[in-house]
Every structure is written in structure tokens, then in C-alpha cells.
């Protein structure tokens, strides 16, 4: 099973990388860009894991390893 986990900064945390990308886009003439947030994406290929198990294991992995709950949040879904 393939799952995808998106990790991003909490809204309360400043995202300087996103800001830099935004500024770059504005300089390049993409004036309609109001905001950019940058995060990380993880695609995991899991072997012999049922959907139910995934619902338990993926959030566990995400909160324990992939995201730092002090600054980050995550969402995830099953790809295939």
C-alpha cells in the first residue's frame, strides 16, 4: 500500500522558506501570488499492511518520526 503524508509548519510558526519562494515569484512577475507555504511530503510504500492497520500505524509514524509536533502538523491519505 502506498500512503502519502504531508507535513507542514503550524500556522503559528513563521515559514521563511515559503516567504522566500513567494518573493521570488513576485519578482518574476507572478504578482497574483498572495501566499506560499512550504512543507515536506513523504510517500511510503508499505508491505502487507491492511487499511485498518495503516490507519493506526501511519499517524503513529507521522507523529513520532516524520513531524515534530512542536512546530509541525501533518495530514495523510492512502494513494493506492
Amino acid at each position: 500500500m502506498k500512503v502519502r503524508i504531508l507535513v507542514s509548519f503550524k500556522d503559528s510558526v513563521l515559514d521563511p522558506q515559503g516567504q522566500t519562494v513567494k518573493n521570488a515569484l513576485l519578482t518574476l512577475g507572478y504578482g497574483f501570488v498572495r501566499d506560499v507555504r512550504q512543507g515536506k511530503v513523504f510517500e511510503l510504500d508499505l508491505e502487507g499492511v491492511s487499511e485498518d492497520e495503516a490507519r493506526r500505524l501511519v499517524p503513529e509514524i507521522a507523529s513520532k518520526v516524520l513531524a515534530n509536533p512542536i512546530i509541525e502538523t501533518f495530514v495523510w491519505d492512502i494513494l493506492a
Partner: protein
Amino acid sequence: MKFGVVVFPGSNCDADTLHALGDILGREAVYLWHKDHDLKGVDCVVLPGGFAHGDYLRSGAIARFSPLMREVGEHAARGGLVLGICNGFQVLLEMGLLPGAMLRNKNLKFLCRFVTVRVESEKTAFTRLARKGQVLRLPIAHFDGNYYAPPDVLDEVESNGRVVLRYCDDQGRLSEESNVNGSLRSIAGLVNAAGNVMGLMPHPERAVEDLLGGTDGRLILESLIGGRVP
């Protein structure tokens, strides 16, 4: 006083730290391998700078799962001394031994240079030889040193005098400019509530010889040599 310098895969200031503690300060200092379960009877564990596990994922994020970190956690819980330098600080944050997290430097660049930091508290095992308000000149070398913690955590840390070092100018004044990496409240180093675990971004081990541009790092390492402040 015996020091143990933990070697993670990707640590790269381990030898420098051992050199500073052993060859320069003349203390007993040994390496501790991250896969072992043996602290070799050391009094103070030093988590050195570098890029444990490449700093992939997040700085310090994977190192905290190393087998030896369980022993380090227990050592800290018993009141044993733990010093995290740079990457070691990041590991301590990820382990939760110190509060907060590190974000990318405000200019999104790796920063290597000498900075000045102000000693905020001399009542710690790590700064007992310093004066409050003393300005130290120490090198930094990091990408993720922009300290962050939620406001309530910051207030708690401040009110309990746990902030040990702040980035400042050479007169000891705080400013946006002197806060090189954008850390909240210019925090460069802090201790845990019990006062036996400290993390700092500057590298004291790089400032123990005049030949290399200064010896202010000795103040921190020599403070430690006295052991725990009662």
C-alpha cells in the same frame, strides 16, 4: 570528572570535542558509540556538533532514536550532566530533554562565523566561571539554529532563569542584527528545569586555543569540570 562524547553516524565535531576536553583541558574523555548501551561510567555526556544521520528529515530527529540515547536519557533523569553542542542541542530538543525546536536560520543560509553571546545566568554548572552579563566570543556553524518555542513555554523558561546564553552585539546589547539566526528572544543556549542538561548552538570546543582565534569556550567547558552545581 570523566567526559563521554557520543558519536552518531554523521557527527563531525566529535574529534574536536575530544581534543578540546582531553588534549587541551587535560580531562579524561572517551567516545561513546551510538549503537552501544554503555556510558562507560562518564560523569558528563557531550552530544557533539555535526550532521547526525545527515540531518535528513530534521536536525537531530533520527539521532534521538539511537540505542545509546536511552542511557543518556536515564543519565539525565538521575541528574547526570549532559551538554548538547549545536547538533547535540538539536538532538536534545528532539528528545524533549529541552523544550522547543529549531527552525532554519532566518536568512535560509548556513552560517559559519564568530558571534558574541551574553551570559544570562552564572548559576549553572555550565557557566559557573562566568559573570552574569559577560560577553563571550564563540563560533557558530549551523543551518537550523533559529530557536522556536510557543509563547507559554518561552515565558516559563524565562521566568525560571533557564536561558543561559543570548546572541548579542560586542557590547552585550540585543538587537535584530545581532540575533544572527532569528532565534526567539535571541536564545542561544538554555538548560532544563533541573539545571543538569544544557544545549547551545555556539561551539565552545572551537574556542579553547588562542591560535584558533579565542579561548572563551573554555569558560563553559571548564565550568563543567567542577561537576554539578548543588
